[in-house]
């Protein structure tokens, strides 16, 4: 019986190939848009993260700490989680840099080097929310041999706020786009099936049960979903490859979103099934 229904569904699709292809195309575009939107939201997150990952901290070291101690501290910090790399700046280097910045003459009057040695810390990308940076800074400041930790607090906070706002706005937008488009797509299926009220009526009069009437429609819906999901998956795959090839930009997505393409097909199938189920409504015999 199942084979009969599949065959019926397939013949129905084939007999009205024109409008059905158009529908598949419509669904495929819609699913692609959903996928692109979702990927863009995560892309935005990734981009913001990467972009803010250039920021770092400076830990000022205690006066009189011997070079050995400085280096030990440097090695210790470089093993801290969340820290990408560290750079030890001796007091002499610091003075040289200041001289370079202000002009040598300006600092001629200095008798002793007033500047402390420091360790420059570059954070790992993805560690740039304010709370973590603060926490890290506090922890470092409590270490023996470290006098003070400077981390451009204003900057970090500003970035973090901006990143959060962009991220929130992007997510909200992505969510409404996704829901909206899926609503439109399930309506498309409903509108497509609407004209077949007559077919349903005839089947009812011949003594068909709800299940018998529904089966080919549901199968058609799944066909629609898988076909258009496949097209959309192909499109998304190509687009994603193009972006990452051209810009070297790989979007980080949480589980299970890294399986974007199979997911699109799945979403398509579920959408097709649900869409036709809703389209059929309760068939009154």
């Amino acid at each position: 019986m199942f084979i009969y229904h599949v065959r019926t569904a397939w013949l129905s699709l084939a007999r009205n190939a024109g409008i059905n292809l158009l529908t598949v195309f419509s669904l495929a575009v819609g699913l692609s848009l959903v996928a692109i939107t979702v990927l863009s939201v995560f892309g935005l997150h990734t981009a913001v993260k990467e972009w803010t990952s250039g920021f770092g901290m400076v830990a000022y070291l205690a006066e009189g700490l011997p070079t050995k101690g400085q280096e030990a501290l440097r090695d210790r910090l470089s093993r801290e989680p969340g820290i990408r790399s560290v750079e030890l700046v001796s007091a002499e280097d610091a003075l040289r840099e200041l001289e370079g910045a202000l002009g040598k003459e300006m600092l001629q009057g200095l008798e002793a080097n007033p500047l402390p040695a420091s360790i420059r810390i570059f954070l790992s990308p993805g560690n740039l929310d304010v709370a973590r940076v603060k926490e890290l800074a506090g922890r470092l400041a409590g270490m023996d041999g470290i006098v003070e930790v400077e981390y451009g607090q204003k900057w970090v906070e500003r970035m973090a706020v901006a990143a959060r706002q962009f991220g929130l706005a992007g997510s909200a937008l992505g969510l409404s786009l996704g829901i909206g488009i899926i609503f439109i797509l399930s309506n498309t299926i409903k509108i497509l099936f609407y004209r077949r009220a007559q077919e349903i009526d005839i089947l009812k009069l011949l003594g068909a049960t709800q299940g018998f009437i529904r089966a080919p429609f549901l199968i058609e819906g799944v066909f629609f979903g898988i076909l258009s999901g496949g097209v959309a998956a192909l499109g998304t795959f190509l687009a994603r490859n193009w972006v990452s090839g051209k810009f070297g930009f790989v979007i980080e997505t949480p589980w299970p979103l890294q399986f974007t393409e199979p997911l699109i097909v799945l979403v398509g199938a579920v959408l097709g099934l649900a869409g036709s189920f809703i389209a059929l409504g309760r068939i009154r015999l």
Partner: protein, 216 residues
């Protein structure tokens, strides 16, 4: 097999069927006639429960339609073959698929279904149109597809609504022979028609409707 007891059906305040009572025995063949708009089709629709009576009681093949719950309706209808006046063929399925539908709905399997379709189409003279689509058939050919679909399931009750309206006298005679064969096998048959040639000298009972009422 079919029993109406003071049945009334009203559309928008007009009585299409007005207090009709009659009984058709199992294995009986009867005719229903009357002018255009007198309620013949409505009466038939009440039998297979496309319409629900406003008043009165209808019993078909043992089912009391007033007490029928909606999940039983399909099973009632499988016992009632209908030649619809307006055909009700599925335009995008072949003649074979249209006729086969009756059997499929009853869950009859592939091989048996195929054979029965072929022999039934031969019976109505449409063997050569097996793979055609209804919109590509002549009026009379479509009508015969509907007849084939109605009889293929060996229904306990066969209702035919103007089954020869699009047929020439010779073909009509052939179809009446088919109905008589079904009848001789024990089928209960009710034929609504305008054509006196069908029922005159048939020896069957004739019900005459006039503005929804059964004439004595």
């Amino acid at each position: 097999m079919i029993a109406f007891d003071t049945v009334t059906k009203t559309y928008d305040g007009n009585k299409a069927i007005a207090g009709v009572s009659f009984e058709i025995q199992k294995g009986e063949m009867a005719f229903l006639t009357g002018p255009s708009g007198s309620g013949k089709t409505t009466l038939l629709r009440l039998v297979y429960r496309e319409e629900v009576a406003d008043q009165g009681r209808i019993v078909v093949a043992g089912w009391d339609l007033n007490k029928l719950d909606s999940t039983s309706i399909p099973f009632l209808r499988r016992n009632v073959g209908v030649v619809f006046q307006d055909f009700k063929l599925l335009p995008d399925r072949t003649v074979r698929d249209n006729v086969e539908l009756t059997l499929r709905i009853q869950g009859i399997a592939d091989d048996e279904a195929r054979e029965r379709v072929t022999s039934t189409l031969r019976l109505v003279g449409l063997r050569h149109k097996t793979d055609a689509y209804p919109p590509h058939l002549s009026g009379g050919e479509q009508q015969r597809v509907v007849i084939a679909r109605a009889i293929i399931g060996n229904p306990a009750v066969l209702l035919a609504d103007e089954p020869t309206g699009n047929l020439d006298p010779d073909t009509a005679k052939g179809i009446m022979d088919v109905f008589r064969t079904v009848h001789s096998r024990g089928g209960t048959i009710l034929i609504a028609t305008h054509d006196p040639n069908l029922y005159e000298h048939s020896g069957c009972r004739i019900f005459r409707l006039q503005e929804g009422k059964l004439l004595a």
